[in-house]
């Protein structure tokens, strides 16, 4: 199922349903209206997309193998930590994911994700966000932008796509245009960029300013382009007002809840949950707290030494989010994705850390009403190649789309040019079946 990366976009238009059905009979059944429920589109409404920039080592997290030794000479490949049982019999994870292990019945670690782009973080980050290689003739949209474009916000009063992290082109809307872009905040203390009033502008001063602006706006007739802009100004004003901004106020949560989510990354996840409740469709949450261990998830050399702190942060936040969403009865309609640009090899580098590996690595799905099984796909003893059920990046994207009720064979339009929503991806049937 490893996708041949190519640019067959226009072709996909020509192929139509018939051609795809030859390749993917199951899905064709699933999407044609009255077919048996072999596979059907999911009903999830929201997606919280964790981004573990740097490349999470699957062998030290969701796909543990025998213990290795980074310090012996020569070093012995294998996991850096011991593994533990989870709520799903037979599925083990690292000991630093102890809290997540308990809710593993709501989780599927997809262990056989693979691609061939490992030299450069930016390149792989772009691939995992857009599901495609760069082409030079099209700028592809990120998965967040596609979801925002396809489904809009759940509540019309909030943005469809929010990012808690640093803007970059890989997270951007590509050819879908600015309207499908994200609104971002870099951390939980700063409000959303552009919508957070300056500290010295309270709502009274804001009203004063608008009163001054009004005669300047009135110069243009109501049926004009500048009047359309004025309408956008009204919308912007509403978003910078308390109705929207209150969602960012974590003080409104109880101390118990806040503590349960843990540090800054956990607080970002809590904020993401609040945004889900407010009606945001897609929230990307970056775990870019690189300096807990020096390197973030890019655990070359010494970065390995404190990697367990990163893992524990994710463990706390992920398990808290799952429990909290469950408590609020919105876990089934909220898909959680843990994504990263690539994995890392079982062998250690000369500094006791790990290099990059794309041939097999883990990304994680949780909630979203999926038929979870703890883990999907099997890798070899070195975590290097998939042995069963390989999952390409387009397949992984297709699974996310299908979970969110978006037909993974749908076509987007780049101008007049049709671009399939994934590059030939097929959803993981087992997770969607019977969901």
């Amino acid at each position: 199922m490893n996708t041949q990366w190519n640019r067959r976009d226009c072709l996909k238009l020509a192929l139509s349903g018939a051609a795809t059905s030859m390749v993917r009979p199951t899905l064709a059944n699933a999407v044609s209206a009255n077919a048996a429920p072999a596979l059907q589109l999911g009903k999830a409404e929201h997606c919280i997309f964790f981004w573990l920039g740097g490349g999470m080592a699957q062998i030290d997290t969701f796909d543990p193998k025998r213990l290795g030794d980074a310090r012996s000479k020569p070093s012995r490949s294998g996991s850096y930590y011991a593994s533990i049982e989870t709520a799903v019999p037979g599925v083990r994870v690292t000991e630093h994911l102890a809290q997540t292990a308990k809710v593993m019945d709501c989780v599927t670690a997809v262990r056989t994700v693979n691609h061939r782009v490992v030299d450069e973080h930016a390149f792989a980050t772009n691939l995992v966000h857009t599901g495609r290689m760069i082409s030079g003739s099209t700028v592809y949209p990120s998965i967040g932008s596609i979801v925002a474009h396809e489904r809009g916000a759940v509540a019309p009063s909030v943005p469809a796509y929010m990012l808690i992290g640093i803007p970059n082109v890989s997270r951007g809307p590509g050819f879908l245009g600015a309207k499908s872009g994200f609104i971002y905040l870099t951390d939980t203390k700063s409000g959303p960029s552009g919508f957070t009033r300056p500290a010295d502008v309270d709502s009274a001063r804001s009203m004063d300013r608008l009163a001054l602006l009004e005669p300047l706006q009135d110069r243009f007739p109501s049926q004009s382009i500048p009047a359309d802009y004025r309408a956008a100004q009204v919308e912007a004003l509403r978003l910078s007002g308390p109705q929207f901004m209150r969602h960012f106020d974590l003080e409104q949560e109880t101390g118990t809840v806040r503590q349960r989510y843990g540090g800054e990354f956990g607080q970002r996840c809590l904020l993401a949950r609040r945004l889900v409740q407010a009606g945001t469709r897609f929230i990307e949450v970056s775990h870019n707290l690189a300096f807990v261990n020096g390197t973030g998830w890019d655990t070359h050399n010494d970065g390995q030494l404190q990697q367990h702190i990163l893992i524990q942060e994710v463990d706390t936040a992920l398990s808290a989010l799952i429990e909290d969403l469950k408590r609020l009865k919105i876990l089934d309609k909220t898909l959680i994705v843990v994504a990263t640009e690539f994995g890392r090899p079982a062998a250690f580098d000369s500094g006791g850390g790990r290099g990059h590996q794309g041939t097999a690595f883990s990304m994680v799905l949780a909630g979203g009403g999926l038929n979870h099984c703890g883990a999907y796909g099997v890798t070899d003893d070195e975590c290097k190649e998939p042995l069963e059920n390989p999952v390409s990046i387009p397949d992984f994207h297709a699974t996310i789309f299908a979970t969110l009720g978006i037909d993974p064979h749908h076509e987007l339009l780049d101008g007049s040019r049709p671009v399939p929503i994934t590059d030939g991806g097929t959803p993981i049937a087992k997770l969607l079946r019977g969901s």
Partner: protein, 997 residues
């Protein structure tokens, strides 16, 4: 071989000797020298009038050793003191930026006068340097390590900056530093300061840059640091004084660079003169376009107006039959036909032989007969097909069916006579001329990208000369800011896409510098395009060679071919990248032929740039696309557009008949290729007039010219004027059509140009204007993540410190690391991105996404950059205006003039005056206390240390500081100042700030 090893040996000895000398100097702290400086002939020398800067490129290696003997200088110029933070780019070929050998060496020398006493000298340099006084080495800095590392390297040596005392400058980019003492008896002293630039990172060259290279002196008994200079002036080495000095030096480097370019271009002048002669001969041998007579009652400034008035009169006469009340062809029917049918039923390759892009073809119909008969909806084939439930027949074949209301619309249109006028008549007559204030604002935004200053505005308004608009246009066309305004156009068109870190996202080199200098030097269009196609110079140094790169692209030159064909021929070949276009006439093979010419070698077609034939032929319906070029094929270079120009023309025009790039350049730019001049003219026309005579600009197969004769006339006019775009612009701007007032009700540009529409300014125009009108300095970080130049050039370019919006690029933090953030640039980038700018230009673009969305007004109202330009800080241009002794009415008037280029209307004036007059008399603070700026060592965050534990918190502090912005001035009472800021805010958020008058 032998001689090489001998040289190496000498080098080692020399460097050992130097090392000893340095040790010696350090051990004793100072060296006393008393001898008078003499030149080579033994003559006593005189105090210099300047510091000579010599660049040496030859005879250097990367062995971390000083060359012996010293290499000969290849280039030199003079500055005022021992201080420079840039060396000029190297120019090669036809005056384009080239690549200097890395490492190169720079020698500063001068004879200075020193008072008697023991002085301290500070050396700052990015790499190895050595300072000698009267021939004796007194201080040096080392060669940097060869390994720039992965970002986690501790680099303590360079990160502990020397503190020269309050007010004095810290090394801004982690330069090496050294303080040495020297005792002088007084009198003249010959100073030589050698520095290395560039070097190697592993095997790869580093950027050939110098960083902030300085020799400063604290004279005996003082703590005052000043730049060492032979001149009598004192240049304190403080931040403020350095800024002034740096600007002076930058001007010298700028002028030196311009002279270098000019000298190189002179070598090509004979060739280009012959090209002009050939063009004139062609013009003489081909018929002129006749300019139509002016219809009665209409006015004209030049031939453009004749064409436009004639067309207006024609369409007006056609439009006597008004469209029915229910259906308007242009409003309702045409958009529907274009969006739902146009992809297939348009142009020469229309499906089923049916074209729905003109009335003539639509009535004639295709293989299934006429699409419709006017007045007879019942028997219309078009309606039958859109209503059909047979999946083999229904139209459109893909995507959603037409809605019921769309079908009903088409039915009514056909039933009511299928009216199809040539062009919509938006207005019955031409609107009047724009007023002077609006004209100067429009003209400046269109040429230099920013509105007039208050003084420019007042001068223009009070000028009573009848030709003052023409005079203004002439002046603006000479303004160097023209280049700033036009770079973005070319960046979009040619997909200039540099990346400041590890370029992998279809990145190019930073050929923005070539674009800028070509525009600055008024390079004729044929010469500029020739330089582009030849792709010479430095790839990462800003030469047109940067265009040739497409990182991680499977067939870079196919991508480049598509850019060239759309930019210069209006032929869109994106589809041909992988298959023949479903609608266009051009095949994949033609794109690859073009690509092969650009590559100067045959191109292979990889599987990744094709479509699997099995999949292509699968399925029921006939595929919309064809693949006639199989993967694995090899395509030879060949001019693929004989219809535009006969390939035989090239031989007479090229210097080297073997060079495929020369061939391509000649065939593109030969006057016989009328398409080229017309495409350029059409693009320039669109920039000023709001729409092209042909739309879309980059795909002429899809559109017919609205004014074909005018287009032809403009193309010939461009050739006649030596391919000078400015000549074309002068004609356009002087036309009555350009100078018409705005009809605010127009939502789109009128294709008959009866009035101007309100036109959204570009992201660059808006950002530059906000800084320009408020006088707030545009201050950001350098566009660079490798401040100390340790990385290899290919993975870390330095795009400089932006002074205009176009200088930004993608901030490239895919790593998502706080320590790699550039928060001030981010604040500007956020505004620009919301307004339709793309930091990452992976593909070319002829039009931007400027549809209004909530983020645009939000970021302009509350964004970080917006706070900078609104807050009356000490360095804000309006702070002095607010403090000035004048009636509040005058202040309001001045704010309107500065920010909106007009006087306030009565209602506006009343509102603003009543707001500002509160506490106006007491707005000034009697004894303001300026905020103390603590003198702390700034933390250097750069690639080499960005993963160190201190870098993240330091970056966070920087983010907070950027978001907070500069403190407000203490000279205005806070409450009144806030009121004044509210007024500034309102003016800056007025639609007039983002729409062109």
């Amino acid at each position: 071989m032998n001689s090489a090893s001998k040289d190496d040996c000498t080098v080692i000895q020399t460097s050992t000797l130097l090392l000893l000398l340095i040790l010696f100097a350090n051990m004793f702290g100072a060296i006393a020298v008393s001898q008078e400086p003499r030149d080579a002939a033994g003559e006593t020398v005189k105090r210099s009038q300047a510091v000579r800067v010599e660049i040496c490129e030859q005879g250097l290696n990367d062995k971390d050793a000083w060359p012996d003997p010293l290499p000969i200088a290849t280039e030199s110029f003079e500055v005022h003191a021992f201080g420079l933070d840039q060396i000029p780019p190297k120019y090669v070929d036809d005056g384009i930026r080239g690549k200097r050998p890395s490492p190169s060496m720079v020698r500063f020398s001068a004879v200075v006068e020193l008072p008697a006493g023991k002085h301290r000298f500070l050396i700052r340099a990015r790499s190895a340097s050595r300072l000698s006084l009267n021939g004796v080495l007194i201080g040096a800095t080392p060669f940097p390590p060869k390994n720039g590392g992965d970002g986690s390297q501790a680099d303590t040596e360079r990160l502990v900056a020397i503190d020269l005392g309050p007010g004095y400058r810290f090394a801004p980019r982690g330069e090496y530093e050294k303080i040495a003492e020297f005792e002088s008896d007084g009198g003249l002293c010959e100073v030589k300061f050698d520095v290395f630039a560039g070097g190697r990172e592993g095997k790869n060259p580093r950027r050939v840059e110098v960083g902030e290279t300085v020799v400063a002196i604290a004279k005996s008994g003082t703590e005052k640091w000043e730049l060492l200079t032979p001149l009598p002036e004192s240049i304190p080495y403080t931040d403020a004084s350095w800024e002034g000095y740096r600007a002076r030096a930058a001007k010298i480097v700028f002028d030196h660079s311009a002279a270098q370019r000019s000298a190189l271009r002179d070598q090509g002048s004979a060739y280009w003169a012959s090209r002009r002669q050939a063009a004139n001969a062609w013009l003489a041998s081909t018929p002129e376009v006749s300019v139509p007579p002016l219809p009665e009652g209409l006015l004209a400034e030049n031939p453009i107006d004749h064409f436009i008035a004639a067309k207006f009169a024609t369409v007006k006469s056609q439009n006597r039959h008004k469209a029915t009340e229910n259906v308007d062809f242009f409003r309702d029917v045409k958009p529907l036909l274009e969006s739902r049918c146009g992809d297939c039923h348009r142009g020469m390759k229309a499906k089923g032989g049916l074209r729905l892009d003109s009335e003539e073809f639509a009535r004639k119909g295709g293989d299934s007969g006429p699409a419709y008969e006017a007045g007879n909806a019942v028997e219309s084939e078009l309606l039958r097909r859109v209503r059909s439930t047979d999946s083999d027949e229904v139209m459109p074949p893909k995507g959603n069916r037409l809605t019921e209301s769309e079908v009903s619309l088409l039915t009514r249109w056909i039933q009511e006579g299928a009216s199809w006028p040539e062009l919509p008549l938006v207005r019955d007559s031409f609107i009047g001329t724009i007023d002077d204030a609006g004209f100067i604002r429009r003209a400046m935004l269109d040429t230099v990208g920013v509105p007039p200053t208050e003084q420019e505005l007042r001068n223009f308004m009070s000028d009573s000369a009848s030709n003052k608009r023409a005079t203004l246009i002439d002046r603006l066309l000479e303004d160097p800011r023209w280049a700033d305004h036009w770079v973005p156009f070319w960046q979009d068109l040619l997909a200039e896409n540099p990346n400041i870190l590890n370029p992998t996202l279809n990145n190019t080199g930073p050929f923005r510098w070539w674009l800028y200098e070509s525009l600055l030097d008024d390079l004729p269009m044929d010469r500029m395009v020739t330089q582009l196609v030849l792709q010479r110079g430095g790839e990462r140094e800003g030469g047109p060679a940067g265009f040739s790169i497409a990182s991680q692209n499977d067939v870079p030159f196919a991508a480049k071919g598509a850019i060239v064909s759309s930019a210069f021929l209006g032929v869109e070949m994106k589809c041909a990248r992988c298959h023949d276009s479903p609608t266009g006439a051009f095949k994949q093979e033609q794109l690859f032929q073009l690509g092969a010419m650009l590559a100067v070698r045959p191109l292979n077609v990889p599987k990744t740039s094709s479509v699997d034939p099995e999949k292509l032929n699968a399925g029921g319906r006939t595929p919309l696309i064809e693949v006639t070029l199989l993967p694995g094929s090899t395509v030879e270079p060949k001019w693929p557009f004989p219809a535009f120009a006969d390939s035989g023309l090239a031989d007479a025009l090229v210097l080297n008949t073997e060079d495929q790039r020369e061939h391509l350049a000649a065939l593109l730019t030969a006057p016989q290729n009328e398409r080229f001049a017309q495409v350029i003219a059409n693009r320039v026309w669109q920039r000023f007039m709001g729409r092209g005579i042909v739309e879309p600009l980059d795909d002429w197969e899809k559109g017919e010219p609205t004014h074909p004769e005018l287009l032809q006339w403009l193309g010939r006019d461009l050739v006649r004027n030596g391919y000078q775009v400015k000549s074309l612009v002068r004609t356009i701007m002087n036309s009555a059509a350009y100078q018409r007032a705005v009809d605010p009700s127009l939502k789109l540009p009128d294709p008959l140009y009866s009035a101007c529409e309100p036109r959204r300014l570009s992201a660059e125009q808006i950002v530059d204007s906000l800084f320009a009108v408020t006088g707030k300095p545009f201050v950001t970080e350098p566009m660079c993540l490798d401040l100390n130049g340790r990385r290899e050039t290919d993975n870390a370019v330095d795009l400089g410190i932006p002074r205009r919006a176009w200088m930004l690029a993608s901030l490239s933090n895919e790593r998502d690391r706080p320590s790699l953030t550039l928060p001030r640039l981010q604040a500007v980038s956020d505004v620009m991105s919301a307004l339709g700018w793309r930091g990452s230009r992976q593909d070319p673009s002829s039009s931007r996404d400027i549809a209004p969305n909530a983020l645009q007004p939000a970021i302009l109202a509350s964004g970080v950059m917006s706070q900078w330009v609104t807050r009356l800080s000490e360095d804000h241009g309006l702070t002095e205006v607010a403090l000035r002794e004048q009636p509040v009415e005058t202040l309001v008037e001045e704010l309107f003039l500065r920010l909106l280029s007009r006087r306030p209307a009565e209602r506006e004036k009343a509102s603003f005056v009543s707001w500002l007059e509160v506490d106006y008399a007491t707005r000034r603070v009697a004894n303001p206390v300026l905020e103390y700026r603590p003198h702390v060592v700034p933390k250097l965050i750069t690639w080499t240390n960005h993963l160190q534990p201190e870098s993240d918190p330091a970056a966070q502090e920087r983010i907070v500081a950027a978001q907070k912005g500069d403190p407000p001035t203490p000279r205005l009472e806070p409450k009144w100042r806030a009121r004044c800021e509210d007024v500034v805010w309102a003016l800056l958020n007025s639609p007039e700030m983002i729409y062109r008058p």
